[in-house]
Symmetry: D2
Subunit: 367 residues, 4 copies
């Protein structure tokens, strides 16, 4: 049953619920000598943090990570790293209503089916709170791939409701564009097409005032990845990246490169043509999203994840109790009207972890 580990070589194992003492991650397979500090962790933890803008839940979480193991004199030792992020602002009473009512779109019912016993004070293990630990681990993965091959992972929001961003060159989007508007103020929706960003904010504001929520799409781009990462059959790079993104809450679809658009194309339209540029074999177009046969091609890896609208609504929804009695539920306060802005660092973290894992796997056999 051990479903709380991810990765073969750069492997994270997590524990923690929304309303327990905290969330902890053990990161195994980290090479020795990588400098890392709590401040480094905070960069992405703050990007994932609730309450960062009017677009996100107003819960306050201190989210102060502590290294429990694996770090000596500011560098990784090569043995397992452990990071603890304690829960603070839990307000258990807010959740007492959901003890016996199944929230639509949530895992309450399926949890009961699986375990017959459930921490009813929130999502428990299925709460997005759990992703804090992944984001912390992702910081180490990002450091490893940047140190070893200049790899970078950047995510952003490319669709909210029917508003779609125009991102002509995904590989050129910078973290600064994602985080800041031209005037230096925060880009709270994390869409680097600023016109679209303004419209997305309007959409989110509207659904928020309607006590409703809205879905969207996030794009994650990895640059600097050398050709040759990934395994030919089951552990194709695309397969592990897809599992990584689908393992995040609320993801209902994943595609890379041309994605579902490939269904309508002919082979002669879809194939990217190889050419030699400065002594390197590459392709001018990137409909293949940086992976061929499940192995990285050296081109930017471009993935998209579809995120459903937040299931928790202040608006009243019909449902049933554990014994099947019809009732209604409205989830009070403090929920994101749109999950997309906070999804970005989660998606980046999972992509970075997969790349770190496949990098180590590649080193083991090919050098």
């Amino acid at each position: 049953m051990p479903g709380n580990s991810f990765g073969q070589f750069f492997r994270i194992t997590t524990a923690g619920e929304s309303h327990g003492p905290g969330n902890v991650v053990i990161i195994d397979g980290v090479p020795p000598g990588i400098p890392v500090s709590v401040d480094d962790l905070m960069v992405d933890i703050n990007r994932r943090r609730p309450g960062q803008s009017k677009l996100t839940t107003q819960r306050k979480e201190a989210d102060a990570p502590e290294f429990l193991a694996g770090i000596f004199e500011g560098r990784t030792t090569g043995t397992s790293v452990a990071i603890l992020i304690r829960n603070t602002d839990q307000r258990s009473k807010d959740y007492s209503d959901i003890k016996d009512k199944y929230r639509p779109g949530h895992a309450d019912y399926t949890y009961d089916a699986r375990y017959g016993f459930r921490d009813y004070r929130g999502g428990g293990r299925s709460s997005a709170r759990e992703t804090t630990a992944r984001v912390a681990a992702g910081v180490l993965a990002k450091k490893l791939i940047e140190r070893d091959f200049g790899g970078r992972v950047t995510g952003y929001v490319c669709q909210v409701g029917s508003v779609k961003a125009n991102i002509p060159s995904p590989q050129d989007v910078s973290l600064q564009q994602v985080e800041q508007l031209p005037d230096g103020s925060p880009n709270i929706v994390r869409c680097p097409d600023y016109d679209a960003a303004a419209k997305m904010i309007d959409v989110i504001d509207t659904v928020r005032m309607d006590t409703d929520s809205i879905g969207g799409v996030s794009e994650i781009v990895a640059t600097g990845v050398p050709a040759g990462l990934g395994e030919p059959v089951f552990d194709k790079l695309k397969a592990d990246l897809a599992k990584a993104l689908f393992s995040l809450p609320a993801v209902l679809g994943v595609e890379y490169g041309i994605g579902f658009g490939c269904a309508e194309l002919r082979g002669s339209e879809n194939n990217d043509i190889f050419e030699s540029r400065d002594g390197t074999i590459t392709t001018a177009t990137n409909r293949h999203g940086g992976m061929l046969g499940g192995i990285s091609s050296g081109l930017p890896i471009v993935l998209r994840a579809a995120i459903k609208p937040t299931s928790s609504l202040a608006k009243e929804q019909p449902t049933v109790t554990r014994d099947g009695t019809p009732t209604a539920i409205s989830t009070k306060g403090r929920h994101d009207p749109c999950l997309l802005p906070r999804f970005v660092p989660m998606g980046e973290a999972m992509v970075a972890i997969v790349l770190a894992d496949h990098w180590l796997r590649w080193k083991a056999i090919d050098r």
Copy 2:
């Protein structure tokens, strides 16, 4: 690096290339006592077989599987099962041209980047030939889930090019509808909407005569799956199913339930409302595709995979040689103009393997 195994508990490990002696699969974790014969394997192997209709490659492959281990008196023994499918119609000379030229859309270049050494007589390990072993293993998975909980997995083609099928009730599509037309003749495109099927055949015929190819979408449905399968975090059922499908060649996108359509919906539109029916908690709609919080809900599991158009084209395409010299390539004969009809049994097999795996995982802790 061991990327040739899939599954934690019901685990398959494969070896084999398109032009080596054969493909072999070891299936570990099969409970004892399941009746299985070579004839059982042939049902799905024949559905995957090349040369079955004008829509598929005209290669002839005998595809005669042999049980090497794990079967005694027609039943599984509980120890590892091995199945060998020898390669027969290899015609290595057909492929000599590709020794030094990189085929657009293929893994030739990425393989060289990974291994620096490659069986150039075809796709090698990345050939779709490898999936024969998965299809054979999938038959055992299907038998296990049907025996233990009445689970069934049925796939079909729902889009080819711009032709989309209308499938109002995915869970009601039968294997017979997928395989046969009302007049008993073979449904060669495996689309249960027969009007759409006729149009799809026209599209494929057209691209075939143009020495081109076309993409599409396949839908895979699992019925009878009890609520409670899947793990809450990394091994969410949706995550393992997505990895399973993305591990197949040519898959560029996977979605379940409402999928990418969720991006445009509000929470109040997207949430499926719980109700009690005959003492069972269920939902009237199934936008959640049978999984909530990564755990099965008891509703039909509905997945879709986007398949790119075949990369091999008889039409000449520009490319480069291993040393970067511009050249052109046309892949002679014997390629599927559309991968979709033969994808169906592959997708079914991978979905069945994931369900068998999570079923055993569930038994270990919950009974």
Copy 3:
């Protein structure tokens, strides 16, 4: 590299060093509904604790475990359990001498060979301090096997130096016999043959006064284990148990049943003869140590581990520095003159974890 996890289904993952913030264990695969408290953990943690008698190191460690996750209302939830045991009495200055000198018998040199970088303030990750986390996890494993099949794991010391205990019936040794003398005072050497225990204490006292140390043998017995646990090939129960014990510090040999004594026997002397007793098939003798073909036979499982004398000596020993310069080292104070008494709970924990793991594996396929 992930070498910090153990078990396939009941799996523990640990992190922590002797001189970092603490040691943490994540236990995956724990079924829901098992009652457990911090007090339960303390029973075995106290048996492993330093400073418990004159026979052990005089270091004081508070060893107060904290559940971080996986427990709700005093019971396991079925999701991953995390336990943190903070380090308290570290006294880093005591260890400054060993920064550059390689302690004989320790892992200092091999760590530098592996990582090139080492937390020199003690054994780091290779310190026996790390086993606290295993002992805590072992408590959960013990609870699971006792609840599900009445399994019990009891260890004791059967040899110190040349003093060998006479234990005619290993399966009848009780925890009380191991922990207490007939007069109710603590059995500080944990040998249930009280005459031998007295002699062992004399031996340990003697080496302690000589600033030296002494080796020994511990026997671990598991009763109540049903026939049928274990896998036929690589994951034989004996193989996983041996790995479990060898993964503990200072273990140089493991045997079960007749062990190395089998080398001198004929088959007709060694084979245990099957018989039927009260409708159950069993054997009158147990030279096979409860396992045949790697699978449990229903008889008591009897294992022995040889433990080397503590490597750290107050007595001065010659050695070299990191750059190879000859020097000498004497490890001041606070080391166990004999590791055996504190080994007992560690060995029990590892055996219990293996049994819990194989129990869940058995349930997955056979029920």
Copy 4:
């Protein structure tokens, strides 16, 4: 349940029984470019082969391995290698007696307890026949470690019954000494102390004529292993090596270095003292058997395994039937009177596989 795989990175997965079509191994994680041929495999397969001398069973097995996958132009491709060894001389009728009688010392009873269903025509999956596949895989492991770091693994017999060999310098024993006597004739008992070898042959001859069998001890030595292989906690090199040896049939004990002898030593007697020799840090003595803290020290790795006397005896032994009725059994013909000579290549193979695995793991993080 998947207990049919071994290794994390250099991983073998096997299937096959004594009386099925054959035994197959898939070897995952083999780096590309290693030259290997069927003749290479035959060297060790012939050493393991039955019928090679009067000391072994007189069964004839052709043991002709076939590469099914992973080899191209005589070299490994980097993808999974598969090897099939068909069974030929099965003579199923010889075994019909054991369908309902439990052979003392065998896994018949425990198999029934585990699976409730058993291939009764021999040991099935628990037959030593299964080790042929491991020996074949071991050849690839030996080639890898020799190519990459000059590693060599040599095993021999050091005890049969009460006859003990005197091997003053285990690391200097050559394959030729193990296989040949000074006069060039075969060293059929594989003991490099020729005086002891002669006595061992006498002992085996005696028990054979008594329709009995005899146990013994084998020593396996690995030289050229660099310092730094192994993981600090669960995957200690000693732990993985012990599991590897205990996973072989009939092994009841494993020790390394001074082994169980450590129990009687003081720390000052047992510690090996570090010194610098030619700029390398090493120890003059090797009581630590080449591993400290679970990590290789650069000294020869020296392991010993205790092997029980063959359980199958022509001599009649009492036993019971499946339903518990007392009966007697005598296993006709064709069994090894002593397992030791044929154990040597099995032990070598498993040790080589562990070293190959840890070598790849080390490369992944440390280079």
